[in-house]
C-alpha cells in the first residue's frame, strides 16, 4: 500500500499481545505457570509428527472482544493460514496465523488528545518458542530452545503508519493496554506484550526501518527515540533491526532486499468456523465500559474536566479508585488528589498504580481527612508519599505525629508572634516591600506548627500583625 507522507517522523506499530487464557491456542498445555524449561509442552506445541492443532474457544472469544473494542469490522468466517518460514524457535517451521482473512479490519483507537490512530487489522496467531543464546545473540555457536511459550495465544494488532513521535507511539501503547485490561483479556503479571515498529523520517526520504521485538510500552518510547536520532545522524538503509534494551541501541538483523517468502496456504487442520451475528451480539453484550466511554460518563455525572477524565479513565486501577472516592467525597477534590497528586508521586517513583498496590481504604481515609480539613494539603502530600511505598494506618499516623491541622486561631497567633519576633530582618525587608521575605516568615510559622497550620490562616494573621 502506497502512503504519501508529509510529517517529519512516521511510525507504524505491529503489536503482539498475549491473551490471558488458561491454555495455549492450539493445545491444552497451561499458558502460564512453571518457568522450568520444557515443562508445559505436548506433542502439538512441540510439532511432533502426527500431532494436530485444536483451537481454544476462549482465545477466540477474547480476540473477538478486542477486535470489537477497537472498532473493527469482524470477518464472517474464521480462517487460519500457515505462514511458512524456518527458524530455530519454530516448532513446525510454519506459524498458524491469519493471512487471507484477518479477524478484524479497519478499526481505530483514539488517543487522549483526540487523535485517531487507524488500525489496519487484528488477527490471531500462535507464539513461537523462546530462544536462549548462551553467549549472547551474535556470539553463540548454538541456541537453547524452551517450548513452554510455543503455542501461546497472541493477538496481532497492526496500526496505520499514523504516529508522528515516539511519545505518540507510547501513548498508543498505553491506550491499547488500557483496552486490553478493561476487557480482562490481558494480565500484566503473566502476559507479554511486544511490538515491532516501522520508523521513517522525512529527512531521509522516509526510508523504512523495522525494529523488531520491543517488549513492553516503556521500552517503546526509548527504542523509538534512539532510532529517530540514529536515523538523523547516520546512513539509513531499508532494513530490519533489533532493539537491545540493555545497551539502549538498535542493531542490524538483516537487510530487506526482498519481501519474505511465506508461501501462505489455508490451514487444513482446522475447520472454518462461522462467526455468526449471534456470536457478535453475545460478545457485544459482555463488553465492559471502556476508557473513552467511562471518561465521558465521569464528565457528565461528576462534572469534571474532560482532560482529567481521560487521564483517570485510561488506567483501570485509577478509574476504579476514582469511582470509589466520588461516592463520598467531592469529585473536584478527588480529581486533584487522584489525577494530580497521586500521579505526581507515582511518576516520581516511575511506577504505575498497579505496580504500587496502594491500600485503597487508607487512601480514601486520607481524602476524607483532607476534605474535612482535618489535615492540611501539605501534610496530606507527605502522607501520600508514604502510602505509595507501604501500608500505613492514616488516622493513627496523624494522631501519633500530631499532624492535625492547627486551625485554633490562638495557637496560630502564638506561632506567628514568635516568628515575627525571631525573623526581625525578614520582617524589615517585607515592610520595605520585599514579598519574598514574607514567604520566609510563613515558612518559619509552618515549621513551628510542623506543617499543620493552615497556610491561608497563617498568611492572614501575619499580614494583620505586620501592617
Amino acid at each position: 500500500m502506497k502512503y504519501k507522507f508529509t510529517e517529519d517522523i512516521v511510525i507504524g506499530l505491529e503489536i503482539h499481545a498475549q491473551l490471558n487464557t488458561h491454555t495455549k491456542l492450539f493445545c491444552g498445555c497451561p499458558a502460564h505457570g512453571d518457568e522450568t524449561p520444557n515443562t508445559r509442552t505436548c506433542p502439538t506445541c512441540l510439532g511432533m509428527p502426527g500431532s494436530k492443532p485444536a483451537l481454544n474457544k476462549t482465545a477466540l472469544r477474547f480476540a473477538i472482544k478486542l477486535a470489537l473494542a477497537l472498532g473493527c469490522e469482524i470477518s464472517s468466517k474464521l480462517i487460519f493460514s500457515r505462514k511458512s518460514y524456518f527458524y530455530p524457535d519454530m516448532a513446525k517451521n510454519y506459524q498458524i496465523s491469519q493471512y487471507e482473512l484477518p479477524l478484524g479490519i479497519n478499526g481505530k483507537l483514539i488517543l487522549n488528545n483526540g487523535k485517531e490512530i487507524g488500525i489496519t487489522r487484528v488477527h490471531m496467531e500462535e507464539d513461537p518458542a523462546s530462544l536462549v543464546h548462551p553467549a549472547g545473540m551474535g556470539a553463540s555457536s548454538y541456541v537453547l530452545v524452551d517450548y513452554n511459550r510455543s503455542g501461546n495465544p497472541l493477538c496481532e494488532i497492526v496500526t496505520e503508519p499514523a504516529m508522528n513521535s515516539p511519545e505518540e507511539a507510547r501513548e498508543f501503547m498505553k491506550q491499547l493496554i488500557s483496552v486490553l485490561k478493561y476487557l480482562k483479556i490481558f494480565d500484566t503479571d503473566t502476559c507479554i506484550i511486544k511490538a515491532d515498529a516501522n520508523v521513517s523520517i522525512k529527512q531521509k526520504e522516509y526510508k523504512r526501518v523495522e525494529i523488531k521485538n520491543i517488549t513492553g510500552f516503556k521500552e517503546i518510547e526509548r527504542a523509538l527515540k534512539y532510532e529517530v536520532e540514529r536515523q538523523k545522524n547516520e546512513e539509513v538503509a531499508n532494513e530490519t533491526r533489533a532493539w537491545d534494551a540493555d545497551k539502549g541501541a538498535t542493531f542490524t538483523l538483516r537487510k530487506k532486499e526482498t519481501e519474505e517468502e511465506y508461501g501462505y496456504i489455508i490451514e487444513p487442520d482446522l475447520a472454518v468456523e462461522e462467526i455468526s451475528k449471534e456470536m457478535l451480539e453475545e460478545a457485544k453484550k459482555e463488553m465492559p465500559e471502556l476508557a473513552h466511554e467511562k471518561a465521558m460518563r465521569f464528565v457528565e455525572e461528576h462534572k469534571i474536566r474532560k482532560e482529567d477524565a481521560l487521564i483517570i479513565a485510561q488506567e483501570k486501577e485509577l478509574a476504579e479508585l476514582f469511582e470509589k472516592a466520588v461516592k463520598e467525597i467531592n469529585p473536584a477534590l478527588a480529581v486533584v488528589w487522584i489525577r494530580h497528586e497521586l500521579n505526581r508521586v507515582l511518576n516520581y517513583n516511575k511506577k504505575t498504580l498497579e505496580d504500587v498496590k496502594l491500600d485503597e481504604k487508607e487512601m480514601l481515609k486520607l481524602l476524607r481527612l483532607v476534605e474535612k480539613k482535618i489535615i492540611t494539603d501539605r501534610v496530606a502530600q507527605k502522607i501520600l508519599e508514604q502510602l505509595a511505598e507501604k501500608k500505613i494506618d492514616v488516622e493513627k499516623y496523624v494522631e501519633e505525629n500530631n499532624l492535625k491541622a492547627v486551625s485554633d486561631a490562638g495557637a496560630i497567633e502564638k506561632y506567628c508572634k514568635e516568628a515575627v519576633e525571631e525573623c526581625k530582618t525578614a520582617v524589615e525587608d517585607y515592610k520595605k516591600g520585599n514579598e519574598k521575605a514574607f514567604n520566609s516568615i510563613v515558612g518559619a510559622v509552618m515549621k513551628k506548627s510542623r506543617g499543620a497550620a493552615s497556610p491561608a490562616e497563617v498568611q492572614k494573621i501575619l499580614k494583620e500583625m505586620m501592617k
Partner: protein, 432 residues
C-alpha cells in the same frame, strides 16, 4: 506356517515387526493389526517410510490405533510404504528402506503408497486387518495390485490424530482385509468424531456390518464412462465390465455416467493441492527434537538444509520443490488457489451424480501390477498419471472400496459412494 520374520525376509512388507501378547477381551480379540508406518504407535518406530524419521518413537497412539487396541486387537508391525506417501508403486521407499514385493509375483510392484499393508494382507494366513492410509489412492491402488479389499472412508470419518501428514485436506485412514465384513467391522470401530482432530465429522457412525447381505436389488449404479476408455488395459476393462454385468443380473440398475471436469483436471488439481500442503508439513523435519539429527554446527539455514538434503529421497525433494513453488507469491493464484477452486467444481460434479445414483463404479487402476523394472523407467509425470482413476474420489473426499475381481493377475473393482454412505458401498461390495 511361515513366521512374520520369514515372510518379511522374502517380501519386505514390514519396516518393524514387534512381539505381541494376545488379549482376551474385545470385539477384535485374536485379530492382528499391521499399521502403515505413517500412523503413530506409541513407542514403536514410526518413520512414514522416510530416513529423516528413523528413530522417531511417538509418545502417543494415533486415535485409530487406540480404538483398535481398546477392542482387543494386537499390533504386529509397521508396514512399508513410499516415503511420506509420495508414490503409487511403493518404489519410492526412503533411503535405507527396502521395496515391498508383490505377493503374487515378486518381480512386480505392490502398488502404493500402502504397499506393505496390501502385501501382508494377501499373505497373512491368520486373522489380520491392515490399518492403512490414502491421500490420492494409496489404499485402492495396492489393494488392486495385490488382490485384497481396500476401504477408504469419507474424509473426516476417521480421526487423523496420530497420522504423519502427507496432505491434511486429502489424507484418510482406512483399512485392508481379505473380506468385506472384516473391513466393515474395523470401520465401525475406528470411525467417529475426535476432539483431538477438529476436521472429524459430526455424522453418526452407522452399524456398517449390517449392510452387507442386503443385496443390490434396485440399487442405482453409475459406470464412469471415462474409466473404461483408452488408457485402460483390455484385460482390466473386461473383468470390470463382466462384474458390472453380474451386478446387473442381481437386480442392480446399471447406467453409464460421465465426469468430464474430473477426468480432465482432477490429476493436476490433486497434485498441486497435495504438494502445496505436503511441502508445509515436511518443513518441520529439520533435525530438531526427534528423528534423525546431526551434530549441531553452523547457522540454522546450513544445519536444516544439511539434514534435509541428506535424508530426503528424490521424490520427497521433488514434491517439496513443486509444492513450495505452487504457493509462492506470484504463482500462488495460478496454482494453489486455482486448484482449490477447481476442486469445488469436481466435488459438485460428483454430488450431482449422487442425486440420481447410489454408487459409482470404475476399475481401481488402469492396469495390473507392472514389473518393477518397467516402473523404474517411468518419468515423474508418467508416475503421477497412474492415479487417474483414484484421484477423483480422493479429491472429493468420497468413500471408496476396491474389491479384487477375475482370475490371473489381480485387478480391482472400485465402488464409490456419496459422503458418509459407506453402508451402501459395503452392501454392493459384499455381493462381488
Amino acid at each position: 506356517m511361515k513366521s512374520l520374520h520369514e515372510i518379511n525376509g522374502e517380501y519386505n512388507c514390514f519396516n518393524t515387526i514387534q512381539e505381541y501378547k494376545e488379549k482376551t477381551e474385545g470385539a477384535l480379540k485374536g485379530v492382528k493389526i499391521s499399521v502403515k508406518d505413517c500412523i503413530c504407535v506409541k513407542g514403536m518406530e514410526s518413520t512414514a517410510g522416510s530416513a529423516i524419521l528413523k528413530g522417531y518413537r511417538p509418545l502417543f497412539n494415533a486415535t485409530a490405533v487406540q480404538k483398535l487396541l481398546d477392542e482387543g486387537a494386537v499390533i504386529i508391525g509397521k508396514t512399508a510404504q513410499d516415503a511420506f506417501g509420495f508414490g503409487s508403486f511403493s518404489i519410492n521407499t526412503g533411503k535405507g528402506f527396502k521395496q515391498p514385493l508383490n505377493p503374487i509375483d515378486k518381480t512386480r510392484v505392490t502398488g502404493g503408497s500402502s504397499g506393505g499393508s496390501a502385501c501382508i494382507t494377501k499373505l497373512a494366513d491368520f486373522s489380520h486387518i491392515a490399518l492403512a492410509e490414502s491421500t490420492g489412492g494409496s489404499i485402492a491402488c495396492p489393494a488392486s495390485y495385490c488382490g485384497v479389499i481396500g476401504l477408504t472412508p469419507t474424509y473426516g470419518r476417521v480421526s487423523r490424530y496420530g497420522l504423519i501428514d502427507y496432505a491434511n485436506s486429502l489424507d484418510k485412514i482406512g483399512v485392508m482385509a481379505k473380506t468385506v465384513i472384516e473391513c466393515a467391522k474395523a470401520l465401525e470401530i475406528i470411525a467417529g468424531k475426535d476432539k483431538k482432530d477438529q476436521t472429524t465429522a459430526d455424522a453418526p457412525v452407522e452399524k456398517y456390518t449390517s449392510f452387507p447381505g442386503k443385496g443390490v436389488k434396485g440399487i442405482r449404479i453409475g459406470i464412469i464412462k471415462e474409466s473404461i476408455q483408452d488408457g485402460v488395459d483390455k484385460d482390466v476393462k473386461e473383468k470390470f465390465l463382466k462384474t458390472a454385468e453380474f451386478l446387473k443380473s442381481k437386480g442392480a440398475i446399471v447406467e453409464e455416467v460421465t465426469l468430464p471436469v474430473t477426468f480432465k483436471h482432477a490429476l493436476p488439481v490433486y497434485y498441486i493441492i497435495a504438494m502445496s500442503e505436503a511441502s508445509t508439513n515436511l518443513a518441520k523435519y529439520c533435525g530438531m527434537r526427534y528423528g534423525r539429527d546431526e551434530k549441531i554446527e553452523g547457522s540454522f539455514n546450513e544445519y536444516f538444509a544439511k539434514v534435509r538434503s541428506k535424508c530426503f529421497d528424490d521424490e520427497t525433494k521433488r514434491r517439496i520443490m513443486l509444492g513450495t513453488f505452487a504457493r509462492m507469491s506470484g504463482f500462488r493464484d495460478a496454482y494453489y488457489i486455482k486448484s482449490a477452486k477447481i476442486r469445488t467444481l469436481i466435488i459438485n460434479e460428483y454430488k450431482n451424480l449422487f442425486k440420481k445414483y447410489d454408487v459409482l463404479i470404475s476399475p481401481s487402476m488402469p492396469n495390473t501390477a507392472p514389473k518393477t523394472e518397467e516402473v523404474k523407467k517411468l518419468t515423474p509425470i508418467q508416475n503421477y498419471m497412474m492415479d487417474i482413476l483414484t484421484v477423483g474420489p480422493n479429491l472429493a473426499g468420497l468413500p471408496h472400496i476396491s474389491v479384487p475381481v477375475g482370475a490371473g493377475l489381480p485387478t480391482g473393482f472400485m465402488i464409490i459412494a456419496d459422503h458418509f454412505d459407506e453402508g451402501i458401498m459395503l452392501q454392493v461390495a459384499y455381493e462381488i
